[in-house]
């Protein structure tokens, strides 16, 4: 009994209050919603809810790494449509799916590489560089497509939109694999743990022999590659490619990561699991407004309120912890 008790308290002491609170708010939200909207707790709605936010969820994984390293990446809003358009171009010219997808992902991580190179050589804040690159990509996307949607895909590709893996839609499976990969890597892989060091204290990391520029390069390339994956999945889901995809996705993704407890002030604190919780939270909010029939105008207002509230709460817990010491 006594052993059990101490194990219990060990578990309790390891619970992250931020995550718990997030969970609490989410559960309350779900409770209220299920009262207002009978469909809310249905399996169909769950599926749609996940679908609604799956692209942001994938990009949020990469964004978490970027923010952990102390940076930020606004290019995702340009890369997502760019990758879908590139895929359409390549497959339209007769290439089959896998080589085309691989080229697109590699090509987009090259954009991440260039972004990071510009950041480094021009000594600019990542926000500024990524903002500029995003604007340039938008121009490129418009020029390539001429503004109209591209749907020049072979039928085999179109069939992929209803493909399932273990009974799950393709995008879910991709997300689960990626999320598991990043959870494991950030816990056990040296290169990924370096991201925390670099975000926590770049100078110290440098003195400890970490090649910090290489870490920055890695996170921006990963973030770009994940945005490319999201773009490819979007193209698969809708059998189309358009410059309009991913509009404002950068802000949604950053909001997700911030709500998930990854700190934009103190680099190096946060986790993939937190981001996944944040993702779920955002998915619930985005779904709840449509399901409840409340005006979606309030959706922006509420996202803003929850974002600030979540960060306030985590600062509050940080304060409590400090006070207790």
């Amino acid at each position: 009994m006594k052993i059990n008790n101490s194990r219990m308290s060990a578990i309790i002491s390891r619970v992250n209050l931020n995550y718990l609170t997030l969970l609490l708010i989410m559960i309350i939200l779900v409770a209220v919603m299920s009262m207002r909207a009978p469909y809310f707790l249905s399996a169909a709605n769950f599926a749609v809810m996940v679908d609604t936010f799956i692209m942001e969820a994938i990009m949020a994984l990469g964004m978490t790494l970027v923010i952990l390293s102390g940076g930020i990446d606004l290019t995702v809003t340009g890369i997502l449509p760019f990758s879908s358009i590139m895929l359409a171009l390549l497959m339209g010219s007769g290439m089959s799916f896998f080589p085309a997808a691989i080229i697109v992902v590699l090509g987009c991580s090259l954009i991440g590489f260039v972004t990071n190179l510009l950041r480094k050589t021009l000594n600019l804040h990542p926000m500024v560089v990524t903002m500029a690159i995003a604007a340039i990509l938008k121009g490129l996307n418009l020029t390539i497509t001429g503004g109209s949607a591209m749907s020049d895909f072979p039928d085999s590709f179109k069939a992929m939109s209803s493909m399932t893996v273990f009974g799950m839609p393709l995008s879910w499976a991709v997300y689960i694999v990626l999320a598991a990969f990043f959870i494991i890597m950030t816990k056990f892989n040296r290169n990924f743990i370096k991201v925390y060091f670099v975000g926590g204290n770049p100078e110290a990391a440098k003195l400890s022999g970490i090649k910090i520029e290489r870490v920055y390069m890695m996170v921006y390339m990963i973030s770009a590659a994940l945005a490319a994956v999201a773009g490819i999945l979007t193209a698969i889901t809708y059998s189309s490619a358009s410059y309009s995809y991913g509009t404002n996705a950068d802000m949604r993704v950053i909001t997700t990561v911030a709500i998930g407890g990854t700190s934009l002030t103190h680099g190096g604190s946060g986790s993939i699991v937190g981001t996944m919780l944040g993702t779920l939270f955002m998915a619930v909010i985005y779904d709840a407004f449509i399901m409840s029939g409340l005006s979606t105008y309030y959706q922006d207002v509420m996202t803003g309120v929850f974002l600030i509230a979540a960060v306030l709460l985590s600062e509050f817990f940080r304060y409590l912890k400090e006070k207790a010491r």
Partner: protein, 501 residues
């Protein structure tokens, strides 16, 4: 054959020649100390060995081979490890992660073996005599503890050449003893150790050889039996310093300016009483973490007080923020000049007036650039800051000792009546140190009340008129400085009946 040899190393930053034709040899299994005034080029030399800078000319010869290193990583690969003066601890990671940063023990598949990492970290910490939980978040540790983790981190890398750049500045004497034991062990195992410190007694105690740098030139190397303080000091500054410490207060009957009664702050300190008299220096001694800085910050209004009274000139005051305190003539010179003292990317002149902006403004609140220039130049001359035309230099381009002088200038420009100085000579060489000591004395003689917080016992004994000892958040003793011995003070430190924590 020497393990490491430096031949004709020359290095300039712009027009400023930092090292000129420096030759040095480091042998296996010896502790070779390097000493010199600030700006003498010690840190630059170490950074060249550590691969952070490259020499303009000259060779770094490792095991008889000329090597060129481009980064700290390459230095590590050559078996050279540096314990830096600035801590390289990452606060949000665990102690174990910090110890094994970049060389985590892994399974065959490349995944980190957490269990092994924690147990090895525990062992590495035990080796340096510290009982720290490897799973603790490093940021939660005190500065002294972090310094120990830092040392453990480098030693755990099994280096052949170990460079320690002022490793003892944040350590208590007990921790220093322990560190020296470790260095002794390492020496016996054949590691060559390069030790940089400003503390002459430490250098003499541990070194096999000591090399002295002055203005980027090696002025000589002494063997163990040739070492003594006067000789070393003479080689460093090129002159006899005469007395190491300034005379004590000429008059002890100034009125009480600041009096504190029963100051308490939860988890930080409790029931602290002290007073400051005009013309006196009160030395506050304690180990790192004794709560000295916290008391100072609370008096200064930068932190809260749970209870207690602060009387300034007999009137009860409670400063809501530092700006309040400064306008009442109470100033606090912080221990960490880079984080809490200076604006390193701003100009010297801007730094000097940063605490007295209101006084250099006209009625419409516009800064008077002429006055700023004059004040700055006056203090540069008075405090002998080098170079003397540095008024428009950025702080980051000055050496540590000169930065510290600018920090003093900044607070002197605020015309304090009560000056609290926190570790005023941390990371400052002997020459600058004695200068700062005499500045403090002159200020006291001119009628200022000074409280000096320090972890260097000789400094406390040499400079203060009265001494207050703190330990674990409590005041444990009050002494008159005249005739006080180190033993008495240390006894007071350890004679506590159960601290706060």
């Amino acid at each position: 054959m020497s393990v490491l040899e430096l031949r004709n190393i020359t290095k300039s930053f712009g027009a400023n020649k930092v090292l000129t034709d420096v030759n040095m040899k480091f042998e296996e299994g010896e502790i070779h100390s390097i000493i010199g005034e600030n700006g003498a080029g010690k840190s630059t030399l170490m950074k060249i060995i550590g691969g952070i800078y490259r020499a303009d000319s000259g060779e770094v010869i490792l095991d008889g081979k000329d090597v060129v290193m481009h980064s700290p990583i390459e230095a590590y690969e050559h078996g050279i490890g540096i314990v830096h003066q600035e801590l390289s601890i990452v606060g949000n990671m665990t102690v174990a992660q910090n110890v094994f940063v970049n060389c985590e023990p892994v399974y065959k598949a490349g995944f980190i073996n957490w269990k092994k990492m924690n147990s090895e970290a525990k062992a590495a910490l035990a080796e340096v005599g510290a009982d720290i939980d490897p799973e603790e978040i490093a940021g939660n540790l005190s500065v002294g503890m972090q310094q120990i983790v830092e040392i453990a981190k480098v030693i755990a890398k099994k280096v052949r050449i170990l460079i320690l750049d002022e490793p003892t500045s944040a350590l208590s004497d007990k921790e220093v003893d322990r560190l020296f034991q470790i260095l002794d062990d390492l020496r016996r195992k054949g590691v060559s150790i390069i030790f940089i410190s400003h503390k002459l007694n430490e250098i003499i105690r541990i070194s096999d050889k000591v090399s002295v740098l002055r203005d980027g030139i090696r002025t000589g190397t002494l063997l163990r039996d040739e070492m003594n303080e006067p000789t070393i000091i003479k080689m460093m500054v090129g002159r006899d310093l005469g007395r190491l410490y300034p005379p004590r207060a000429s008059s002890r009957d100034g009125e009480i300016v600041l009096e504190c009664k029963g100051l308490s702050l939860r988890n930080k300190f409790s029931n602290i009483d002290f007073f400051l008299k005009k013309g006196e220096i009160l030395g506050v001694f304690g180990l790192v973490g004794a709560g000295r800085t916290e008391v100072a910050l609370s008096v200064f209004g930068a932190d809260n007080l749970d209870s207690g009274k602060v009387l300034l000139n007999g009137k009860s005051v409670s400063f809501k923020n530092p700006s309040d305190a400064v306008s009442h003539g109470v100033c606090y010179l912080s221990e960490d000049r880079k984080v809490a003292g200076l604006f390193v990317n701003m100009e010297v002149r801007e730094n000097v007036v940063s605490a007295c902006l209101k006084t250099v403004c006209n009625k419409a609140d516009f800064l008077n650039q002429g006055a700023i220039g004059k004040i700055t130049q006056d203090y540069i001359n008075e405090l002998d800051v080098h170079p003397s035309n540095c008024s428009r230099f950025r702080i980051r381009n000055l050496s540590g000792g000169n930065q510290q002088k600018i920090l003093f200038a900044k607070w002197l420009a605020a015309k304090p009546t009560v000056l609290i100085v926190d570790e005023p000579t941390r990371g400052v060489d002997v020459g600058a140190k004695s200068m700062i000591h005499s500045i403090l004395r002159n200020l006291a003689e001119s009628g200022m009340a000074i409280m000096m917080i320090s972890s260097e016992l000789p400094e406390i004994l040499g400079v203060s008129d009265r001494v207050m000892v703190m330990s674990e958040g409590r005041k444990t003793a009050d002494f008159e400085a005249e005739g006080l011995t180190e033993e008495t003070v240390m006894n007071a430190v350890f004679n506590t009946d159960g601290g706060l924590r």
